[in-house]
Symmetry: C2
Subunit: 520 residues, 2 copies
């Protein structure tokens, strides 16, 4: 049926066009159906029906749909009924508890990518594809299919090192340090980070304060060629279907583990990772509250790695308080670069960065990884590599930490009593830093002058809030007053110990290595 | 916010109102949110937003929403943001693979019933609540919660017998016979059937040709008091939330087992059933293709019964061809009543009805149930009881099978060769009967003059199509030509054997009985 395009501003949570009920009858479609609209290009959309808002022979089209199909105001488009995509059958199969093969999963991913599946169908899929109803090999299939929706990088060499944090701990500024150490050993490490979603500062947010993070494929390849490593932003070039899945999940506030794992790993497959270390931050109140949950994630991730041909190891790290002393883009950049410049610094940052880098070095065949990492950091080699990468990402090779200046609106929060810092509430600290304007105000954030276990006197500064204007500073101070994120009491606190709590190698790969050695 | 009501004819698959984008900004809502509209009553709806279709200060309301909240054209309604219902948290928990308690499941059911959950949220719930992610005790909780959304009947006595067919086999006209046999033994059997959904004739469709099937609570109680049994229609009074769940499932064509089982059992809980026999029709191409699947369903159903305090047994029955010779409302009524009048008749109908009735009698403590059932049928006692029930359902107590006359447009389909009927395709027969107008044209349907295994000569009538007008007869004949549902070949066919293939009692209850006996 040919219909005349009439721009419309009616918006739902997904693409929808408005049709006259008479035309719907003739097309044999109703409000639960989809239509295929063809102009310069084709697009499948949902329908709302009306008797009057749109006349017979016309179609009400929001700007997004107009643009997607290349239609023009008053122009003609061809409209036909769009049958339920074949992939809905596969989703049904999954809802009925059956296992899907690669082709079936591939068709679901393709239809999500093409916009052929409605949000509720995507939602039904991820709901059915839950921990009790998805096998590791199905998750691996989903991962591969998701990876294939975007750029697939091949560096033509091995190993390609990578690491990833399951997230959730504020102040985790180790990425540029780890990348610099690993890259200075001549290993490739094309690390793609992300910006904050609900946190006060993602890796890309603080790296963005001193060099470019959005690299296209060519820039990435040339930076890797020049410096072996990058700390760029994993943008929509890689496994872009992930974002469409998240868009369907977000209104219900869900992030089920199987799709979450596939989403993480698909970006690694896309970038060509061969050796991957996953940081599993563990702490009360976080996504991973205890070691049993951490091991459960590690088991899934290492098994998934085996199926994907990626050597995965996991490191469970302390996440019971923020890492280091700084939170916020410029403040974290500053603390990170200071460590690189001095070859030492905040003990937590140094310990976590060198532990992670150390495991990566060992995964690539080196011995005594952590000592080696500490040596590379201490010798200044890591700092030289860091500046090389900064330059490759269009930053200033003369960059110094003192160039980075946080917001000038500052307020100290004092201890109300003498005692020991019992704990620091991650969520509370994030709320204060966000109240101060982080991550969009680059200079906003906070500096903790004390950490868990420190003895403080009444009146000592516990932490300092930085903002770029008075209003946001006031808001942050108010938030600090109500949340009280640093708790002081008489009881001395046990030493927190090392940042790395447990290293979980891939059992399967260890078995293979043992087998290979025994048959030599 | 107060908004002026403006009737709108914009329709989606669920209630939706149209708001001006400025008002949305002020309310803090967008296209993925819900609002609570209050006029005489309150209703929660989804939103579509617009800049122009609805002016600032107005709200576009379709008739359904207007009516539900009691608003009037040009009147004022109060509109506020409606937060995500608490039950969404429980749905999330289920999507994350956790077990839900009764309260959590109850709140989901309540919110579905109240219209507080969007269709996609219901869909996410049923998708997550799949065979691999729902325990029997969760299904029992869901069943109880669903039952409590409507009338709960208490007959104040035990046992209350009931039976139910998982469906799928055409010509299954045994219900009035089973009910009449069981009720003539003085047992209560308030049997609620349904109308056809995709079949050519549901039990209520053919019973409706000779007496009322829609009974309200009072009519039901008085009919049961007078006659011990009914063969009524299980209408929206019982577990009405089931229909809302089905409405969300239908666009995706899903009917996942856990919600399906809960839906069936909730109606039994609502009617106060204590002893339930489930007919599991088994046959190639049907929902239950083999004995393993049948036993799997039986296991779930008997376990579910135990948790619900209902003694459930299952009978697996032959469903490899239609039951008896007739398909279609008047034709099935005729064949059913003939059996009752003669105390005998079509061997399949008699065998299946008396096998089922026999199990029910044994469940109620009688011995040699099937022989007893055959005796009750043969003696005319079942027929007398049948007419008593018909009268209690406002039918004619002088009803005779010859009063029922099928459509006068008739066409015979002949055998093209001599041989044996190899099989009869259920789906093909249903398609032909529906083509002829069944179930809405009461006289439409077909009569099979031969069944599987019969020897036929070339030119013999295989089956006869009945319709109420020529056009539909032609359509059915065309369908018969293309589908060829009765296949004749040289090879003799093995005798099909008895209708009841396997009886599956509740293991748990058998154990309890054994235990009770051993401790006497």
């Amino acid at each position: 049926m040919k219909l005349i395009v009439q721009p419309s501003d009616v918006a739902m949570s997904e693409p929808v066009v408005m049709l006259n009920r008479d035309d719907c009858l003739q097309l044999g479609v109703g409000p639960t159906d989809r239509i295929l609209i063809t102009s310069v290009r084709s697009i499948v959309t949902s329908i709302v029906t009306t008797d009057n808002e749109v006349g017979k022979g016309s179609i009400g089209m929001p700007a997004y749909v107009l643009e997607r199909c290349g239609a023009t105001d008053g122009g003609l488009v061809d409209v036909v009924y769009s049958p339920m995509p074949e992939s809905v059958k596969s989703i049904r199969k999954k809802i009925n508890g059956n296992t899907l093969n690669g082709e079936e999963i591939g068709s679901i991913v393709e239809d999500i990518m093409e916009g052929n599946l409605a949000e509720k169908e995507i939602l039904a899929f991820v709901s059915a594809f839950n921990v009790n109803n998805a096998t590791i090999s199905e998750i691996a299939q989903l991962t591969r299919s998701m990876a294939s929706t975007g750029i697939m990088v091949d560096f033509g060499t091995m190993p390609v090192m990578d690491f990833h944090s399951l997230g959730g701990v504020p102040g985790n500024k180790i990425t540029p340090i780890v990348v610099s150490i690993v890259a200075s050993e001549g290993l490739l490490i094309p690390k793609m980070s992300s910006r904050a979603i609900s946190s006060a500062c993602g890796t890309s947010d603080f790296v963005d304060t001193f060099c470019d993070v959005e690299l296209d494929r060519e820039q990435l390849m040339s930076a890797i060629k020049r410096a072996n490593g990058v700390f760029a932003c994993g943008n929509e070039d890689y496994a872009p279907v992930g974002r469409k899945i998240i868009r369907a999940e977000r209104p219900m506030g869900i992030d089920p583990r199987p799709t979450m794992l596939a989403s993480i790993m698909s970006k690694k497959v896309a970038i060509g990772t061969t050796h991957l270390l996953i940081d599993i931050p563990m702490g009360e109140g976080s996504k991973i509250p205890d070691i049993a949950t951490a091991r459960d994630y590690a088991k899934d991730l290492t098994e998934l790695g085996t199926l994907l041909g990626i050597h995965v190891e996991c490191g469970v790290s302390r996440a019971d308080e923020p890492i280091g002393h700084m939170i916020g883009p410029i403040l974290e950049a500053k603390e990170c670069i200071e460590v690189l410049e001095r070859g030492d610094g905040d003990p937590e940052v140094v310990d976590k960065a060198c532990s992670m880098a150390g495991i990566l070095l060992e995964m690539a065949g080196e011995q005594d990884g952590k000592e080696r990492a500490l040596k590379i950091l201490g010798s200044g080699a890591a700092h030289r590599k860091f500046l090389e990468i900064v330059e490759a990402q269009n930053g200033d090779p003369g960059l110094r930490s003192e160039h980075l200046v946080p917001g000038s609106f500052v307020k100290d929060v004092h201890a109300k009593r003498t005692g020991f810092v019992q704990y620091i509430d991650n969520a509370g600290m994030v709320a204060i830093a966000k109240g101060a304007g982080a991550p969009s105000d680059l200079g906003a954030g906070l500096e903790m002058l004390h950490k868990k276990g420190d003895r403080v006197e009444e009146g000592d500064v516990l932490f300092r809030i930085y903002a770029e204007n008075q209003a946001k500073l006031d808001r942050a101070v108010e938030s600090a007053r109500s949340r009280r994120p640093m708790y002081v009491q008489d009881t001395p606190v046990q030493d927190s110990g090392p940042m790395m709590l447990e290293r979980i190698p891939s059992k399967k790969l260890l078995d293979l290595i043992r087998f290979a050695r025994s048959t030599k």
